[in-house]
Symmetry: C2
Subunit: 202 residues, 2 copies
């Protein structure tokens, strides 16, 4: 165990924290100060600012991936596994520095012309959402309907993130998103009678 993280790790931590709280337009100098590292060290490790941001986002995406998967694994039923993305959102935000809203969407919004590496990393976030939700949806609604449901759930999930940017309390937005997601799932499975249990396909 190293009580003193390397300069590289301190840079990644600082870049992620600042991107989360201030946005990526936060000056390099602020990152350097927080990481207690000199400019030359940053450029030696990452080439330039975008390289550092990209690396920090890759690491954050991997952590989000893990957190989300854990929540899926813990969920008892297929339906709750599908809705676990909302549980994961809370846990993810609790574990890391709470961001102003979504760091990936935030960087996307602040970066009109991302380089290839950064662009790929941002796209990977959306890809992960669509792919995993489709996988989790398939047992519930069948492979045919799964992509459609996944797209709608990503829309709702993205709406939750947007509401946070609009100033809505995180828990409130998450609860409403989860509710909408549940409704959407039931609508795709087939209109159930009021109060009826979810009718699973197959």
């Amino acid at each position: 165990m190293a009580p003193q993280p390397t300069a590289r790790d301190r840079l990644l931590d600082a870049a992620e924290d600042l991107a989360a709280t201030q946005g990526v337009s936060a000056p390099v100098d602020a990152i350097l100060q927080r990481a207690r590292v000199s400019p030359a060290t940053l450029y030696a490790h990452f080439g330039n600012k975008e390289g550092l941001i990209t690396e920090a986002l890759r690491r954050r995406l991997a952590r989000w991936d893990t957190t989300w998967q854990e929540c899926v694994d813990e969920a008892p039923s297929p339906e709750e596994k599908l809705l676990a993305v909302f549980t994961a959102l809370g846990r993810h935000r609790h574990a890391l520095t709470p961001s102003r809203w979504c760091v990936f969407l935030g960087v996307a919004a602040e970066t009109p012309h991302p380089g290839p590496d950064l662009g790929d990393t941002l796209a990977a976030d959306t890809r992960l959402l669509l792919d995993r939700l489709e996988d989790l949806a398939a047992p519930l609604v069948g492979a045919q309907q799964a992509p459609l449901l996944a797209r709608r759930l990503v829309l709702i999930y993205t709406g939750v993130l947007g509401m946070i940017l609009r100033g809505t309390d995180v828990d409130t937005a998450t609860a409403e998103g989860r509710h909408l997601a549940g409704m959407t799932l039931h609508a795709v499975v087939g209109p159930a009678a009021p109060g009826a249990t979810l009718r699973l396909m197959r």
Copy 2:
């Protein structure tokens, strides 16, 4: 009719266009070039960059307000009036310079510490959405349920905007948002039998 708009108007146009396409971090110089105006003129009229952006957003919000209201007025039924926000989104984007996603959310994302005037203008966008949707929802679901439904519709609408940032085609995202919104409305009104017509309250 003035074929030559004033310098002030050219500045507002240029600021709005650039905020829509490049984000507000686009340098003042780019605005000046596009408006064919000198720096001094900008600062004489608006004090500083944020003042110009704020004024441009106020104007854009007023136009959005008008466009949306027109779509509401044209809609034949209470239900379609409620969903007219999605029609308005398309018409708004068609009329103005197509933005990368939502200009208001974009500015909010890029501006961690907005001044009071800019902050108020950004909040006014969310306020308008919540208030008008609540007004339109009341005849359908009653005054009691209207705020809840309005919040959910803003979430969905915001999700549509977020999907555009994620790279989804605007029309696709809008259609899915509208579908979700219709579903949500019916769910709040009360679970209807499959294929049943919307049961209105009162």
